[in-house]
């Protein structure tokens, strides 16, 4: 399957016009997806997957680059409409700085890299990783997986890419098992098909990570996994990102989950001890429901928590970002940008640890603009209005009827007696 795909999938351009007429912007958008743009034979031989997704509107272009040649990374850039991506493949595959650039300098960029995957021994079954002793933590480097492109597809709603990381080998350590990553670039505002059915805008990419049947450290009794993300944003070095947990009333789309975690980049930042507010229209964000599913059948009974920890600053930007798309794009300039890390551990107290199901998921979206907020669905509004409206209408009608009838009968009786 994958071999067949490689043969014609390498230099493939999918071009189509999306005539979606949005309420806000009535201009049609042109979206274009290219796998390994202008790479040809070079990438074919070396199992490279770099996907370039470009959406052009009359005012700007939104570019996404998904890369699995180094650490799995996603880069988002906003440019003037005509800008294109240029890759110097030789340098890029060597991980050299500035081997990847846009023909016009972007007005905004935002990116993430899966920095590390942790396996920790949750001795006391707390679900929390922050008080686990160092000897009970193993680090797995995403670069040391073999990343294969399993499939991709597209329709009017999204472009989807399925990747699998296998054959983990780092020095003497070898692990069996798979890390599956499913990426979706959505073309319109909707809920995604897979649980937790995240609401996404037309400016978002959803990343779904599954740690499937992964071999755990044999000396760890109570293994759980955690993912560390590196986040970089085109903001002042002195500013900070913000991680928020929002309570929601509505768990209609993600049954049993009443929270939404958001990492937002600063609109206001302190420059020279003065607060400066950004004039840019939007900013990059990450958003997820704090849930991890423990079975391919994703439902409430097969769910546990995805626990996040505070954002931490990164000391050496270039060193952290090396071997990734982010370093290839930003180069030495990376030191001058806002960069932070976040860890999300999968599992919670009493769920039986990873060994119970050998399956853990985490799903998040990365997007540009402001994070979308859930609204009540049409069904809910209908139930409320009918449920409350009907009794009121009936009671009013009955009230009027009774009044009228009383008046009638009274005059009736009077006439009888008179």
């Amino acid at each position: 399957m994958s071999a067949k795909m490689n043969s014609y999938g390498l230099q493939l351009t999918l071009l189509f016009v999306l005539g979606i007429i949005e309420l806000c912007s009535c201009s049609p958008k042109i979206s274009q997806v290219t796998i390994n743009p202008n790479c040809g034979q070079y990438c074919e031989s070396s199992n490279v997957t770099t996907v370039y997704l470009r959406t052009e509107s009359s005012t700007d272009s939104l570019h996404y680059v998904w890369d699995f040649s180094g650490k799995p990374s996603v880069l988002l850039a906003v440019t003037i409409p005509s800008a294109q991506l240029e890759v110097d493949w030789k340098k890029f595959l060597w991980g050299k700085e500035e081997s990847l650039k846009f023909t016009e300098a972007p007005s905004y960029t935002f990116g993430i890299t899966v920095l590390k995957i942790y396996e920790f021994n949750d001795v006391n079954d707390t679900g929390y990783m922050d008080n686990v002793r160092p000897e009970n933590i193993n680090v797995l480097h995403p670069k040391h997986f073999r990343w294969d492109r399993k499939s991709y597809s597209q329709n009017n709603d999204y472009f989807e890419l399925s990747m699998e990381g296998t054959d983990y080998k780092s020095g003497s350590i070898q692990r069996n098992g798979t890390i599956k990553v499913l990426l979706n670039r959505f073309w319109k505002l909707d809920h995604s098909d897979i649980m937790p059915h995240m609401l996404h805008t037309e400016n978002a990419t959803q990343i779904d990570i599954i740690i499937d049947n992964f071999q755990t450290n044999s000396s760890f009794e109570n293994s759980r996994f955690a993912v560390e993300l590196l986040i970089i944003a085109d903001h002042n070095l002195n500013s900070t990102m913000k991680i928020d947990v929002k309570k929601t009333l509505d768990d209609e789309h993600t049954p049993g989950i009443f929270e939404m975690v958001e990492i937002t980049t600063p609109v206001c930042e302190v420059v020279n001890r003065e607060e400066m507010c950004d004039k840019r229209i939007g900013e990059g964000y990450l958003q997820w429901r704090p849930v991890s599913y423990t079975d391919a059948q994703r439902d409430v009974t097969n769910s546990t928590e995805a626990i996040h920890y505070p954002l931490t600053p990164v000391a050496n930007h270039a060193q952290s970002a090396n071997n990734s798309l982010l370093y290839s794009y930003y180069g030495y300039n990376i030191e001058n940008l806002l960069m932070q890390k976040v860890v999300v551990s999968l599992g919670s107290k009493g769920d039986g640890f990873y060994k119970k199901s050998n399956y853990s998921t985490w799903t998040f979206t990365i997007g540009y603009g402001s994070p979308p907020a859930e609204k009540f669905s049409l069904l809910v509004i209908m139930i409320i209005s009918i449920g409350l409206g009907l009794p009121v209408v009936i009671m009013v009608a009955v009230g009027i009827y009774v009044c009228v009838r009383r008046r009638c009968t009274r005059s009736h009786t009077l006439s009888l007696n008179s």
Binding site: D250, G256, F258, V300, L379, V380, I383, G387
Partner: protein, 514 residues
């Protein structure tokens, strides 16, 4: 059903001297002591079955490990209890009316409950799951029909004055039975586990639990003797030709009864299935610890244990049952609404829910006794309980699916929709009651007395006329029950000449009997 049955108004004429003495003594069936004793027995009657019903729940972990049960197998122990009762409750109630009579019926149903619990315990003792299932099946048939019999007893003894409170008290005892079970079963299990282990231990524990059923059995027998004595002394039912109860009678039940049945379904599906799933809801939405979530969740039951008799007493004094039902449903809608659309402290929501639920139980169930003649009460309560069981059985399956696909938010919407249905049904009850009886169900006790008194007077005069007059063929039962007035006479005249009667003068089609 039309016309009802009439109590003999001259009940003391044939009393013998000894009966007279018994009536006047402190143990007379009309004296508070006698009635109180009866009430206590009536309440204890249900204790055993409610205690044993939740035995598996209280020992859930031990059941699973000792008998090697999966969760789905464990749940079967409850399904086999509820599903058959969708039909058996109705049959049980009908047999109570038509074949057994209340005294024998109660003893038989209590016997079934006891035997069922024995079979269940024996099945556990021999580690035979199918025997356990059989036991639960027999137990279920007995216990649910017993509840019907319990209702009938309460109506027979207390209708008119204290019925609402008695229904409330019975509910409290049911809750008490279930609560005591949850408190004592674990200690009993650990005590037995010192000398036995595995499935034998579970078996012994269940045999011990069946002692409560034996106690209830004794209550049933005592109550039968007391009721027999009361019947003899009060000459209850004398001079009344026994009505033949047929299964087809229920098609003649008044519309109001079916609306009450709709409330029974629509209201209770928004309570029990919610509580079944409530614990996880509180953990998820309000970040409660499992223990705290359990506390909030069980608040409804603990409140109802205390509030039901008190609210029942209130309804007894104030009457106006339909209004109370309406207010209870509104209160429940508010409570569910707060749980759905706000993050208000769930204790406030659950207290509102608990009070509303207790009020509804006290005000709704006696309505059936007001609209159905006494000789069909068993059938009527059986039907109400059957449809309630059906609703709960179906909805319990649905709720699980709703949570999986639409979350707790949609589940709450589902409950709110059902509550709106029950609100509409209540409006329907009120309307049909106003149009048929001038609002008898929503009267205060005083007004009801006047209404009943009026009816009795009319009945007496009409009887006299019936005996004297030779041309009675054109007297409808409605005529017998209506107060005499010039309008009434005019209507009779109009009907004789074949003119249409004004709609307002269509009288009650039934007569409340006590």
């Amino acid at each position: 059903m039309e016309g009802g049955i009439m109590e003999s108004p001259q009940r003391t004429i044939e009393s013998t001297d000894s009966d007279e003495a018994a009536l006047q003594g402190c143990c007379g069936p009309k004296k508070p002591l006698y009635r109180f004793l009866g009430l206590a027995l009536m309440c204890l009657l249900g204790f055993g079955s409610y205690f044993c019903y939740d035995n598996p729940g209280a020992l859930q972990d031990d059941f699973k490990s000792d008998l090697d049960l999966t969760t789905s197998k464990f749940v079967l122990l409850y399904s086999i209890y509820s599903w058959p009762n969708v039909i058996f409750c109705f049959i049980g109630g009908f047999l109570l009316d038509s074949v057994f009579g209340i005294r024998l019926g109660t003893v038989i149903y209590m016997g079934l409950t006891l035997i069922g619990q024995f079979i269940f315990a024996f099945g556990a003792y021999t580690d035979a799951f199918w025997v356990m299932m059989l036991g639960r099946f027999v137990f279920g048939i007995g216990a649910e029909s017993l509840a019907v019999a319990q209702n009938s007893y309460a109506v027979l003894w207390f209708k008119g004055k204290e019925l609402n409170m008695v229904f409330g008290l019975q509910l409290s005892f049911a809750r008490a039975g279930s609560t005591v079970n949850f408190l004592v079963m674990e200690p009993i299990y650990s005590w037995v586990a010192e000398s036995y282990s595995g499935y034998k231990c579970i078996g012994i524990v269940l045999f011990l639990a069946s002692i409560t059923c034996v106690g209830s059995m004794i209550c049933a027998v005592l109550l039968a003797f007391m009721d027999k004595r009361a019947e003899r002394l009060l000459r209850r039912g004398e001079g009344v030709t026994p009505e033949v109860v047929r299964l087809t009678d229920c098609k003649d039940f008044k519309g109001v009864f079916w609306l009450v049945a709709v409330v029974c379904i629509a209201y209770y599906v928004a309570i029990y299935p919610f509580i079944a799933l409530g614990k996880v809801f509180f953990i998820r939405k309000y970040d409660y610890s499992p223990a705290a979530a359990n506390n909030v969740n069980s608040l409804v039951y603990s409140i109802s244990a205390f509030a039901s008799p008190l609210l029942g007493y209130l309804v007894d004094r104030l009457g106006k049952n339909v209004s109370w039902v309406f207010i209870s449903i509104l209160g429940t809608i508010v409570a569910h609404g707060l749980l759905t659309f706000t993050f208000v402290n769930p204790y406030i929501c659950m207290i509102t829910l608990g009070l509303s639920y207790s009020m509804l139980a006290s005000a709704l169930w006696p309505l059936i006794a007001l609209v159905i003649p006494e000789y069909q009460l068993g059938t009527a309560y059986g039907i109400a309980q059957s449809v309630q069981n059906l609703g709960l059985a179906v909805v319990s399956i649905l709720t699980g699916m709703i949570v999986d696909s639409g979350g707790y938010f949609m589940l709450e919407m589902f409950f709110l929709a059902w509550l709106c249905v029950s609100l509409l049904a209540t409006i329907g009850i009120w309307l049909s009651d106003i149009t048929t009886t001038g609002g008898y169900l929503n009267m205060t006790p005083g007004q009801r007395e006047i209404h009943d008194g009026g009816c009795k007077q009319v009945e007496a005069t009409e009887r006299e006329k019936l005996l004297n007059s030779s041309s009675t063929s054109d007297l409808s039962t409605d005529d017998l029950l209506l107060p005499h007035s010039d309008i009434h006479i005019r209507n009779r005249y109009l009907s004789r000449i074949g003119a249409n009667l004004p709609a307002a003068s269509i009288g009650p089609a039934y007569r409340p009997l006590r």
